[in-house]
Amino acid sequence: MSEVLSPKSKVQSRHFRAEKFDFWSFFFSGLTGLATLLIIGILAVILINIIVNGWQGFTWHFVSTIPKKDFFDIKTTGVLPMIIGTTFRVLVMTIFVIPVGVITAIYLTEYAPSNSLITRIIRAAVNNLAGVPSIVFGLFGLGFFINFIGKNMDVLLHNTGAVWGQPALIWASLTLAVMTVPVVIVATEESLKAIPPGLREASLALGATKLETILKIVLPQALPGIMTGGILAVSRAAGEVAPILFTGVAYYMASLPSHLSDQFMDLGYHVFVLSTQSPNIEQTRPILYATVLVLLVLTFALNIVAIIIRSNIRRKMRSLH
């Protein structure tokens, strides 16, 4: 629709401009345009600042070294355990969040009666979940997963000392899974809605049941959207620090996490530690910037992939309607 109309309106506006120059029109268009530029400028400045200052420290040695307890020594520092910790916690999270998110999205688009009370409550819950502050998720993880589930598990399993009733990888991942469920739901729903209803109707008319239609027709078509959701959730979770502060992250660990009940080191938390506890910020600046660059590469690369897939879906959807 927009493609059909836009040449026409362009002609119109050119016509007006030729007839009378409207100062206020020009002024305010410029002002809003400037706002847009400023926002893009902020993004550009942040990215360029980090890339320019960080790329020198961003070496293979830095990425692949396990540091000693003193993070601030340029020669022996590295971020390997943090990269591994962040990857682990995010991977464990996807195991939980993708099924729940996708199934909920399927319910909302395929099964839910469109205006019933329960659908509206589920939608409100999803929206709310998306708006809960990340630090509250951290408190929830501490209060529910560690102090309630973990402690009770220790009692039931007759563990001596706290095994599950303490900060651990699994609790951090579960907390993040609760936090990122809305991301997966929204992305999946968007891609499910982009599938033409005719496809479903054709499948049903050929005698397939609803479940068969969803599993064999709808889901394969929606796969890119589901992937986008997963990627966005992963990139969001990889950058979050607040929810894991009390649920699993460690300032320093001598060994890599090998069990779900282990604590772990984390890239985002490491950035926080480096930038707030550095003994001499001028000297440690290269390490800091390099660490931030690693984190940014991890989360941002994923984000860009997701945005490309998503804009493809949106284009496909627009051509359908």
Binding site: V100, I122, N128, L129, I135, I304
Partner: protein, 395 residues
């Protein structure tokens, strides 16, 4: 009427058994399973509320006590008191109390007396050592502490006498959030007007995903940038004294909120029917007049909702504020340091004793935060829902 009939025909009967149709129990089970899984989102919100509030309940019911000096019952007078009184005095559960014999109880009471003897001399006479600082009046009202000249709002959860006045935190949160919104809302809404109404399609195709990319920057990275670069630049421009203050935190917070406000406002502006725009243009209005006088008023509820949701995000943002400023000073000046609720929770939970008064109060702050964002989300969603329905002609 019609849709509900259609709906009824489509639903399979119990266990997929439906008269005149093939029984499909698997189909039925799958549908129920999918429904149950989607209910888990409601369960999650419910659990968050219950478990954050649960840890905070003792504060609400006045069951936490920080008084250092308390009235002591001499062990030899213990028979004068009822068992219920003794149990409360010794802080035991009824089961524990029943399980103990008279002598154990007596030794426990001795311990109580000795504990009082261990209190440093200077607190024996102190008025502050006798009060329970987790009572609501100490949480909310100014109190004249021993070392202070006049009643003041103090948040100081460390030391012998813990001061838990939450007003400085509320003021700090409000200050930082408002600065962030004052910075972010005009920029984001302006950009939304430009991108959705004025920009050429090619510009829009690039500008929109680029601005949305800003939300992909982790908040630690924004905090880091504010700490190392923005703080210095802003100090040079404005020339204030404290390098890290509420102003820097607010602006950095704005960076994080802009993409949210932008995408909701842009969505609202785009969903105004094209007929409105075309009618205005046909009547001779300029592009800008159309955007400002026709589209923006029509989309105003959406823009309002964007602001409310941005507010919800801003008061909940943790890492940026934690990295940029954290001293809790009771001050309304934007160039002073400030401490927000989120920062307090993040910075102090590690040192709070699990189950202690400080821990409970931090959870209470979390519950407060949850309630605030819950309400702002509800308002935002409600307004958007009404707005969309109105545009579609539904009431």
């Amino acid at each position: 009427m019609q849709p509900s009939q259609k709906e009824a025909r489509r639903t399979p009967g119990w266990m997929g058994i439906h008269r005149g149709h093939k029984a499909r129990p698997l189909e039925w089970l799958a549908e129920k399973f999918i429904f149950l899984v989607s209910l888990s989102t409601i369960l999650m919100v419910f659990l968050i509320f219950v478990f954050v509030a649960r840890e905070a309940l003792p504060v609400f019911f006045g069951q936490t006590d920080t008084a250092l000096v308390s009235a002591v019952i001499p062990p030899n007078e213990m028979d004068k008191h009822s068992p219920a009184e003794l149990q409360k005095y010794l802080e035991l559960t009824p089961e524990q109390f029943k399980a103990m014999d008279h002598d154990t109880l007596k030794s426990l009471m001795d311990v109580k007396v000795e504990a009082q003897d261990d209190i440093p001399e200077e607190f024996r006479t102190s008025r502050d050592a006798r009060i329970n600082t987790t009572e609501w009046r100490y949480l909310l009202l100014p109190h004249q502490w021993d070392d202070y000249k006049k009643p003041e709002y103090i948040w100081q959860p460390v030391g012998q006498i813990k001061k838990f006045n939450i007003i400085p935190l509320l003021v700090g949160t409000l200050k930082i959030t408002l600065i962030g919104l004052l910075f972010a809302v005009p920029l984001a809404v302006g950009a939304a007007i430009y991108v959705s109404q004025l920009a050429r399609p090619q510009v829009r195709e690039i500008a929109k995903p680029t601005i949305e990319l800003l939300s992909g920057i982790p908040s630690v990275v924004v905090g880091f940038f504010a700490l190392l670069v923005l703080a210095t630049v802003l100090q040079k421009i404005f020339g204030y004294e404290t390098r890290l203050n509420a102003f820097v935190a607010g602006i950095a917070l704005g960076f994080a909120v802009i993409p949210i406000i932008f995408s909701i406002a842009e969505d609202a502006l785009t969903s105004v029917p094209r007929a409105y725009t075309q009618a205005a243009l046909a009547l001779g209005a300029s592009r800008w007049q159309t955007a400002w006088q026709i589209v923006l008023p029509a989309a105003l509820p959406g823009v309002f909702a964007a602001t409310v949701l941005g507010f919800g995000r801003a008061i909940g943002e943790t890492m940026i504020v934690l990295m940029v400023c954290s001293a809790s000073v009771m001050s309304w000046s934007i160039f002073d340091s400030a401490r927000s609720i989120t920062t307090t929770i993040a910075a102090e939970m590690a040192e709070a004793v699990n189950g202690g008064p400080h821990y409970r109060i931090l959870f209470m702050l979390g519950a407060l935060l949850f309630a605030a964002t819950f309400i702002s989300n509800m308002i935002g969603d409600f307004v958007i829902h009404r707005f969309k329905n109105k545009l579609e002609g539904k009431r």
